[in-house]
């Protein structure tokens, strides 16, 4: 059993790296896409809308396979598995995050921007110091949903042969003819999600000082 824990634990590293890199990249990208999607320039806003439509409208499995294999079939370039999975995840999650951020940004009353403008703040300052801090509070619940789903979705990385935790668990299950490794993997996910939930709850509490 201890051995099993150790094996899965080694896969947990990969899971966490995919999770962390995706999060670190897709959140800022999501903000940028959200702002572009809101842009007054119709072309920019339509292009981002199309991007979001495609990403949300096709299965993630397909996107992963596409990122990994398409360069090979099109240009005879072979992709590094890990880079491919990161690209696929970031592109996918950026789309989802951007819609959450956009709903958050749009929920801030127009008067906030107007007041900030008449005080002389420029666009960047208005977004950075007035809008986004308020957006954070509004989007926390929706974001926590998305982050939690990301933890579990990392298991899709096995499609292109990356041995993250769940794929190791499956292998062990086959090897041992037992369901225990899968249940153990489930427990690992549960703990991770638990930790994330606690972090989000704490943050939500911390932002409770105003409404």
């Amino acid at each position: 059993m201890f051995n099993l824990c150790k094996i899965l634990f080694s896969g947990l590293g990969t899971t966490l790296v995919i999770f962390a890199i995706t999060l670190v990249l897709s959140i800022p990208l999501g903000i940028i896409v959200a702002i572009l999607r809101n842009s007054k320039n119709i072309i920019i806003s339509k292009i981002t809308a199309l991007y979001i439509l495609i990403i949300r409208g096709t299965p993630m499995v397909l996107q992963i396979i596409f990122v990994y294999f398409a360069p090979y079939y099109m240009f005879k370039l072979s992709m590094d598995r890990f880079i491919a999975i990161i690209i696929a995840f970031v592109v996918n999650y950026t789309a989802y995050f951007s819609e959450i951020f956009r709903s958050g940004i749009n929920s801030i009353p127009k008067g906030q921007t107007e007041a900030a403008y008449t005080l002389g703040l420029n666009k960047f300052q208005i977004y950075m110091y007035i809008i986004l801090p308020q957006v954070v509070k509004k989007i926390l619940p929706a974001t926590s949903n998305e982050v939690i789903s990301l933890v579990k979705t990392t298991s899709l990385a096995q499609i292109i042969g990356i041995s993250e935790m769940f794929s190791l668990a499956q292998k062990q299950a086959n090897y041992l003819f037992s369901i225990t490794p899968l249940l153990l993997a489930g427990a690992y996910y549960l703990v991770l999600v638990g930790i994330i939930s606690i972090i989000f709850n704490l943050t939500e509490k911390k932002l409770d000082y105003y409404n």
Partner: protein, 731 residues
């Protein structure tokens, strides 16, 4: 004198509609300009254009040395940035930044825009806060301030940013009337210090006092300007507008029938002439029947004097669903001690003061006369509309017999809009289900008691604030003296109650509670309860809490036995009192009130009530309550249920009326879940699949002789109602 602002031939269109039509004026340094005029006349738009929050289509605006726009051509970014540094704006709805403190709200832009150091910005901010008298609030967040305080902070925020021109867009319109004064005081001081300002306002008296120059606008045009606009208006439209504010020269008491919207106030005056206290609605009913007959409208009326008047659909609206409006005919009759008014026969005399109508030392009856007159005006208007049913109910303020008994088969509409909300900008989408009980516990006396073995104590709570069991119960600082008393009694073993009484009724939070009890000398430990009393006194230091030993004991005193006493105490102690549950929007949706405990004949009578806007929560509570009743052998003597209705966020009625309001007012209507009991609960209970909401114009201090109705709000409500009847709810 230096010219700070020059506006020339400014025009602006929304589509084809010209919202600003050839506006020209100028403003010198140190001057205060007030812009007045009816809603929708373009005043705010003009101000927003000057602040570059909206674009102008043609004309010239020059601020200080720089052109914002010259002959229809905007200057380049750098120049506009300079202009942006020279104008500041105060908004109707404050727009403070909610996530940073009051102090940071004022220092923030100073640091980021003017590049002042932290210390300098703070120093200036504190100076400004002192000026507006809010220095002690500097660490607070905007959500903890009242509206008036928020607006003062917003002004301080602009002042700290040194600008040549300060614009204020209806700075007091979003405030409750009692908070307007503090903001006007601050603005007046600024005017005295010769700050250059443009103020768009509806406070005519204020404008007259502070302005160096006044502009009257209507329909996107400047109709009249100068110093004398208010005191000596030349133009008919100006005179007409000012009449409403009682500022028409020589005409001190304004005739209400001349106030816009005339078609509504005509009826308000007529119904005010008819006495209509609850249960005395025959005359007003006859008036409405007469009204219907004269116009050939069909009507239905019953022995309770409810009336339903039906207006057939116009040709173009034949396909639309029938729509119903509803208001109650009766009014609360209250007067000041000096008034000689006789509510059974005297007409209500109406007094116009600025934007308000009030009565002469009596209630006004705007609750719900405002709704009745809006409905009459609708029935009388020649606006094309679908089939309309106007439901006039009776005795809403007392027994609600009208809505309980009205023949619902006579109502074919599936959507009912009540006009009994009383606050513009709010829409009631749910009212409370209210259950009330009184139960009794029979008294049995303990005849074996030897009084000399006992101490006798008085425990008295008085001077508590009480309040309405629906509206005030969430305010824990009010406290419930019965619950506090029970907390103490529960700590004492073998209490024997001698006397028990409280103030109040089933639906009122009690203000007093008194109990006299006996305890055995050898088993009583006073220290235990003194701790509790100490804490209670800390929490309620303005109220009186007395605990004292009775010295001269009457030998014939009768003492209740322990079992009875303990059952009473346990019930009071276990009763789950107060605001108990809130929805995600922090609306109170479950509350219970222990209203009174008294000795009547040979039993102890306990009155309590429960209000809920959610059936599931109600059921859960009732189950627990049932157990408590059973456990303490309470005999329920009387109970009644007043029906409520739950919010329906998916209803088309809620959605379309909200959308319309948003379109007209540029802000969302606030959806209210009230813990009060409304007629809507009965309509919803008795009729299948009916949608019900309540809206209405602003009224203040209803049910008291200070009751007032806002004229401008009535006008906006009339405009809204006229548009509501045009909505196709099926689309």
């Amino acid at each position: 004198m230096k010219e700070i602002l020059k506006v020339e031939n400014v025009c602006k269109y929304y589509g084809k509609e010209k919202v600003l039509n050839d506006i020209s004026f100028s403003l010198n340094e140190g001057e205060t300009l007030c812009i007045i005029g009816p809603s929708g006349s373009g005043k705010s738009t003009l101000l927003r254009c000057i602040n570059n929050l909206e674009k102008i289509d043609n004309g010239t605006v020059k601020i200080d040395e720089n052109y914002l726009i010259k002959d229809g051509k905007y200057s380049d970014k750098e120049v506009i940035k300079k202009i942006n540094m020279n104008t500041r704006m105060v908004f109707q709805d404050f727009n403070l930044f909610p996530h940073i403190s009051v102090l940071e709200n004022i220092t923030f832009a100073q640091e980021k825009v003017l590049k002042r150091s932290k210390e300098e910005a703070k120093e200036i901010a504190i100076k400004m806060l002192k000026k507006i008298g809010l220095e002690e609030k500097k660490e607070m967040y905007p959500c903890n301030l009242s509206g008036g305080q928020k607006q003062r902070v917003a002004i301080a925020r602009c002042l700290a940013m040194d600008s040549k021109l300060l614009c204020m867009d209806e700075p007091t319109s979003a405030l409750d009337p009692e908070l307007v004064g503090e903001v006007l005081k601050v603005i007046k001081e600024l005017s005295n210090e010769n700050k250059t300002m443009i103020i768009v306002t509806h406070e005519i008296a204020f404008a007259r006092e502070v302005a160096d120059k006044i502009i009257f606008m209507d329909n996107g045009q400047i109709i009249e300007s100068g110093k004398e606009v208010i005191d000596n208006p030349k133009n008919e439209r100006t005179k007409e507008f000012l009449k409403r504010f009682n500022y028409n020269k020589g005409e001190k008491k304004m005739n209400i029938e001349n106030i816009e919207p005339k078609e509504v106030f005509k009826y308000f005056k007529q119904i005010s002439d008819i006495p209509r206290n609850s249960a005395n609605e025959k005359n007003i009913r006859d008036y409405i029947v007469e009204f219907a007959k004269k116009r050939g409208l069909s009507y239905y009326t019953d022995e309770y004097y409810n009336v339903i008047v039906t207006k057939p659909a116009d040709e173009e609206y034949k396909e639309y669903d029938t729509l119903a409006f509803q208001a109650h005919l009766d009014m609360v009759c209250e007067k000041t001690t000096t008034s000689t008014h006789d509510f059974t026969k005297d007409p209500i005399s109406l007094i116009v003061e600025e934007d308000y109508i009030r009565a002469d030392n009596t209630t006004l009856g705007a609750d719900n006369g405002a709704g009745v007159s809006l409905m009459l005006a609708l029935l009388d208007s020649n606006i094309k509309m679908p089939k309309l049913e106007c439901i006039f109910t009776v005795q809403e303020e007392t027994t609600m017999i009208g809505v309980k008994e009205i023949d619902i088969n006579k109502i074919s509409a599936k959507r009912i809009i009540s006009l009994d909300c009383g606050k513009e900008g709010k829409m009631i989408i749910s009212s409370a289900n209210c259950m009330e009980w009184y139960g009794k516990i029979n008294i049995e006396y303990d005849k074996k008691v030897q009084l000399e073995d006992y101490y006798i104590y008085n425990l008295e709570y008085s001077n508590f604030r009480g309040g309405h069991s629906g509206g005030n119960i969430a305010d824990v600082t009010r406290g419930n003296p019965i619950k506090l008393g029970a907390q103490v009694l529960n700590e004492i073993d073998k209490v024997k109650i001698i006397d028990i009484s409280s103030s109040g009724k089933v639906n009122v939070i009690p203000r007093e509670f008194k109990v006299q009890f006996a305890v055995e000398k050898n088993s009583f430990d006073v220290s235990k309860i003194e701790d509790i009393l100490l804490k209670q006194r800390e929490n309620f230091n303005n109220e009186n809490i007395v605990f004292e030993k009775v010295k001269n004991i009457d030998k014939n005193l009768k003492v209740m036995d322990s079992d009875v006493s303990e059952r009473v105490i346990k019930f009071m102690y276990d009763f789950n009192n107060g605001a108990l549950n809130f929805d995600s929007e922090k609306n109170q949706i479950l509350s219970a009130n222990l209203g009174a405990v008294n000795i009547v004949d040979n039993y102890i009578r306990i009155d309590y009530s429960l209000r809920s806007n959610n059936t599931k929560l109600k059921q859960d509570y009732l189950e627990k309550l049932k157990e408590q009743v059973k456990e303490n052998k309470l005999e329920i003597i009387w109970s009644q249920e007043l029906y409520g209705f739950e919010p329906d966020y998916n209803s088309n009625l809620v959605k379309y009326v909200s959308d319309l309001y948003k379109k007209n007012n540029n802000k969302k209507i606030e959806k209210i879940i009230t813990q009060g009991v409304l007629e809507g609960g009965f309509f919803k209970k008795r009729m299948e699949n009916v949608d019900y909401i309540a809206i209405g114009p602003n009224t203040f201090d209803v049910h008291s002789p200070r009751e007032r109705l806002s004229i401008s709000s009535m006008e906006r409500m009339w405009n809204l109602v006229k548009e509501i009847v045009q909505i196709d709810f099926n689309k």
